[in-house]
Symmetry: C2
Subunit: 228 residues, 2 copies
DNA sequence: CAAATGCTTCGGCGAACGCCGAATTAAGCC
DNA sequence: GGCTTAATTCGGCGTTCGCCGAAGCATTTG
């Protein structure tokens, strides 16, 4: 059947360690060059080139050439969503299995603490953020959907977020965190929230990974506004 | 890094045509025996046995032995969600590519018309259902979340659905249909809706695939209640 | 107890694919 | 025009992995 073949094809593309590493590196929405991607994947440029070509023709990546640099990014949020979902199912599977010792290096630690999830915040920071917003009644989260409350709308506006006209009452897609196994806030609200935190210099991107670090200003800001 | 390896591992499991076919066959939430799965995948039982063992130890499937029959089912809704999301990203990728001729056999046609998506309805029927419910103001859908309205709660109760106590206002997770590229209703509401339609004998499972057929009673019922 | 059925394990075959070295093209820089 | 760097293409090597035939366990049936 047609659909099954497409499923296997796409999954097989993600199923290679080298390609998976490159896709993960692109999870924060930035565009990286072929050489950078080769490095994070731990393979030679010529090997990476082949992988990138396949990912691009499959429509998982989009490329954009500028001079002699070829920039690659995820073709759509759908791809990022797919990757997070695979990690989620994977984590759910591991949880059921006998606990294999998971070696958590410092890199992993930073990722678990705070990272970007395509365009919004995840990790412990994302979870704490979602909890604090929930406790204060600014958003209502469940496994299945999320909603911004009236007081939440006011709060976000005062925080500098333009959520647009009111009609779409539901802005936030809850997103199950694969390291914390708890909900954090994605969707449009999550993206705008993350962007605002970057703009306020509360958090800063890590140059090497999707991990983000909370700045001193951020420590203060998060404590003052949400007590987290 | 740990997380990347897990991503590749899980994706590689889905990336084999045989395993993908078996997973797709389990997408409607039923449990199938090893022999049945071997048949749908077009491989011999001993090959299927190996695949099923790997999928089970990875936590994607759960098995449950009854006499000499070994029943397999998806380990969790997270796995079903992952599969749908991969198809979605795959479809999005294909849409960007030059239109390759997609051969749509009668099997595909039935699938596109109406099918189950783990526990709720998808395909053209699912989309029409979502549209009708939206037009009547029973649910509010967006790409990011969905909500049941007050009048919707009444309607669903009158339709025979027990949605439980009111607190969780948001019941329905919109689910992007990979064949229609439009939203349909998943989540708890979607599952209960589908179950009710089966109970009313409005729709019937196809023995060979996830496709469902609308019965004459269903034709009448859908027209009378929602004019679809 | 013997036969049949469903499932699994083992062993070897073959194809697919990831990998890199070497060579080629293209863009910037002196 | 040379030199460096980025990216790609090509060719061949090696491993991995899916596949099936044959055999081995369990469970049900006569």
């Amino acid at each position: 059947m047609f659909t099954t073949a497409a499923l296997a094809e796409t999954a097989a593309l993600v199923g290679d360690p080298g390609r998976a590493a490159m896709l993960m590196a692109l999870m924060d929405g930035r565009a990286l060059t072929a050489a950078e991607l080769a490095r994070v994947a731990g393979i030679t440029p010529q090997t990476a080139s082949g992988h990138l070509a396949r990912l691009t023709t499959a429509g998982l990546l989009s490329r954009h050439c500028q001079g002699r640099h070829h920039y690659h990014r995820l073709a759509s949020p759908a791809v990022a969503h797919m990757l997070e979902t695979i990690m989620e199912a994977s984590a759910a599977g591991q949880a059921l299995r006998p606990q294999r010792a998971v070696v958590t290096g410092p890199r992993d630690k930073a990722m678990r603490a705070a990272r970007t999830c395509y365009d919004h915040l995840a990790g412990q920071l994302g979870v704490r953020l979602a909890e604090a917003l929930g406790e204060r009644g600014y958003v209502e989260l469940s496994d299945e959907g999320g909603a911004v409350t009236e007081t939440g709308m006011e709060f976000f506006r005062s925080f500098g977020l333009d959520l647009g006209p009111a009609p779409a009452r539901v802005y936030c897609r809850p997103c199950l965190d694969w390291s914390e196994r708890r909900l954090h806030i994605g969707g449009t609200l999550g993206a705008k929230l993350a962007a605002r935190c970057f703009a306020l210099n509360w958090i800063r991107r890590n140059s090497e990974s999707r991990a983000v670090t909370v700045t001193p200003a951020g420590q203060r800001g998060f404590r003052e506004t949400l007590d987290i």
